[in-house]
Structure formats: C-alpha cells, structure tokens
Symmetry: C2
Subunit: 195 residues, 2 copies
DNA sequence: ATATATATTTAGGCTCACCTAAAATAATAT
DNA sequence: ATATTATTTTAGGTGAGCCTAAATATATAT
C-alpha cells in the first residue's frame, strides 16, 4: 500500500520529470512539496528501497515503471474529480484544485471507474489536461500552441498550461466573452489555441 | 483543525453514546476503533485538553458540544456520500460504507453543500438513517419498528438498524421482491417497518 | 469483607514523516 | 587551480498515533 506522502512524492516527481526532463533534483522536489531538502533525501531513500523510484546519491531521482503507474493513477483520479466538480457540482475551474488534491487519494478502483462512466468518459479535465485511462495511457493531444496560429485564424480553446488560480481567474475575467479554455505558456507569456 | 484520528474517535464516541447511553468506556471505544485500550486512554486525554470531550479518569468520556458538532458533520458527510454512491454511481447499499469512510474526511464546506444540492437535499441515506443538516439538526423520524405493526398492515420500508454488509446482502436477496429498505434490530432479531 | 476477575492507566518504546544544524559533495567564479 | 557558493546528505531530534507489559483501580463472586 502506498501512503499519502508517497503518493504526493510520486505525483511531484512525475510533474517535474515532465517539465524539466528525466531526472529530478532533491531541491526541486523539496520546493514543490514545500518540505525540507533533508527530509526529502530521507524519504527518497526509502522510496528507492521500495522500487518506486531509482536514486543515486547526490544525483537525483527518476520514477520506476511501478512508480510511474501509481503517479498516473493519482493524476487520473485528480482530473476525473475535477471534471466532476465542474460538470456536476458547478464549481469554477479555479476552485477545484484543492478539493481534488484531497479526493485523489481515496482508494477504490470501482469508485473511479464508476465515476469515469458517470462523467461520460471525459478525455480532458477542466483545464484541458489529458486524463490517462485506467492503464495509464493518454489519448493523443491534437492541440497546438496559440503562437502557432495567425491573426484571424478560427480555432477552439481547449486548455491552459498555467494552472494557478490567479491566472485562471484573470483569464475568466479578461476573456469571458471568448471560449473558456486555452493553452497559455507563462514562460513564453503566450496564450495558445487548438483546432 | 481536527485530524483524521480525532474525527474517527469523535464519530465512534457519538455512535456509542447513541446506543449505550451517555458515557462511553475506554474499552468500548477501543473495541469499536480496533485500537489498544492503552492507546485510547492516551488519546482521549489529549482530546479532553482540546475540549472535544469531557473525561474523568477511569470513568469514561462524553462528547462536548463542540465535539458533538464535529461528529455530526462527519456523519452528515458520510451519509451524503453514501447517497451519491448509490443514486449517482449505481453502487449497491452494501458496497458504499468503506468508500464513504474515506470520503467523509474530505474538508470543504462548499463541496458538501454543493453535493447536498446535487442530490436534491436527501433526508436519509441508503440505509434509512437520517442525514443531519449543516447545523447538525435531524429531521423528525416518523418510522416505527416492524414489531409495532400487525400482520396484514400495509407499510413502507425505510431503513435498517443493522448495517453489516452481510445482513444487507441477506436482506437484498431474501426480500428482493419486497421494498429494499427496512428497520431491523439484531438485538431483538426483528425486522421492522414504517408507514 | 476478601478474593478474583476485569477495566483502565502508566511507563517505556516504536514508526512515520517531518525538522534543524552541521558535514560533505558538487557547481561556479575568479 | 583554488576559492566561493549552492546543493545534498548525515546526524540527531520532534510529535502524532500507535504498541506491549506492568501497575492500579473498579466490579463481581464468594
């Protein structure tokens, strides 16, 4: 059984691997989890023993296949719960993250599969992020950055790359007359769009 | 903030007070929570300091008003989640308890109020137990024990007093041609009914 | 009333997941 | 290449929530 702490570490490592490449440093993890780096070192040693990650002293960590599958199952749950909160309970897209962070740790395969069905097997969450299936597979993402479009192009917003509540609220306000969802890369300071 | 352990203790004390009167013994609590009595003694001392319960050495515990309110909010959440699982996700009434035990600890007032609305403000859970409102108040229960009825009486099952999965399954099978819900008192070995 | 049985508490210990401070290692600047 | 800075690890410690074994308090039987 994987603990709450382990699940949070696995999710954080997954996200950091996605963003900054294959290997994740102790300090990056510590910052994301808001946990002291010394504590992180401690914990990842234990996770390595359990084969959830591979770890070489002073050289950062990487998810094992087992760790990746668990991380994906947490992400799947998180995103399905977000869809539920928005589509069924009328929450706004900037109000769901904190609640989903709690719900994602509830353990029951039947629950999550029933929820998936109840929601009509959504492919993406309210921010446009893809929802992995029960086996951890993603559908293909056909969306393109806004920058790849020209002025006058007709297109459809499907999601954002920046998830902070403040940005989501900003977007809701400034483009409330547009579609609700769009891709935005804060590094490039760009809002982007798909077909 | 109340911890997971505290919430479980409060819920257990509430249930034992309901069944066996005002004061709850260390051993009764220990048995219900499947925790060693020595650990329970330890823990209730801390809860007393926090004014969640009143406690006199060797004389058992009783919920404070604050403790009672928290217990009721957990019970409210538990029962609302059970309604959701049965009515929206098609679970059977004998499949929902374990999942609701996890969901009841999710913290968000907005969530629980939205859920209540989503479900149409149900008064009872799938087993017929009353759902307290946000302030911890119960609606009046007009149901009567089956024993109070005579052979030939026309009536409506609304709930069970015994919640074990095995009994629920038994009932589902044996009276699947009747209504689904009924009151049953295992101490008196009786199934009972309301109008 | 005393002996026996049962319930409760005390004392000491454990694991988990965190912490700080100091030491060791790695990266960067001169 | 060496000094400085930043990162990572080690060592020692903490609180929460549990444990067992032993001591004490309470209830029951004779």
């Amino acid at each position: 059984m994987t603990s709450l702490a382990e699940e949070n570490y696995l999710k954080a490592i997954y996200k950091l691997q996605e963003k900054h490449g294959d290997i994740v440093s102790t300090s990056a993890l510590a910052e994301m989890l808001e946990i002291n780096a010394a504590s992180v070192t401690d914990f990842i040693k234990k996770m390595a023993v359990k084969k959830l990650i591979s770890y070489q002293k002073s050289k950062g960590v990487r998810l094992s296949e087992q760790g990746r599958q668990i991380a994906l199952s947490i992400i799947r749950k998180h995103r399905l719960w977000e869809v539920w909160l928005v589509n069924k309970l009328n929450f706004k897209w900037d109000e769901v993250h904190e609640i989903a962070e709690q719900l994602e740790h509830v353990v029951s395969n039947e629950l999550i599969e029933q929820l998936d069905e109840h929601l009509g097997y959504p492919k993406t969450d309210p921010h446009g992020d893809l929802i992995p299936d029960a086996k951890g597979r993603f559908a293909k993402n056909s969306s393109k950055p806004l920058l790849d479009h020209k002025v006058g192009d007709k297109t459809k917003f499907v999601g954002v790359a920046e998830h902070s509540n403040s940005f989501l609220q900003y977007l809701t306000k400034t483009i409330s007359s547009w579609a609700m969802n769009c891709w935005w890369n804060p590094l490039r300071n760009s809002i982007t769009v798909s077909r």
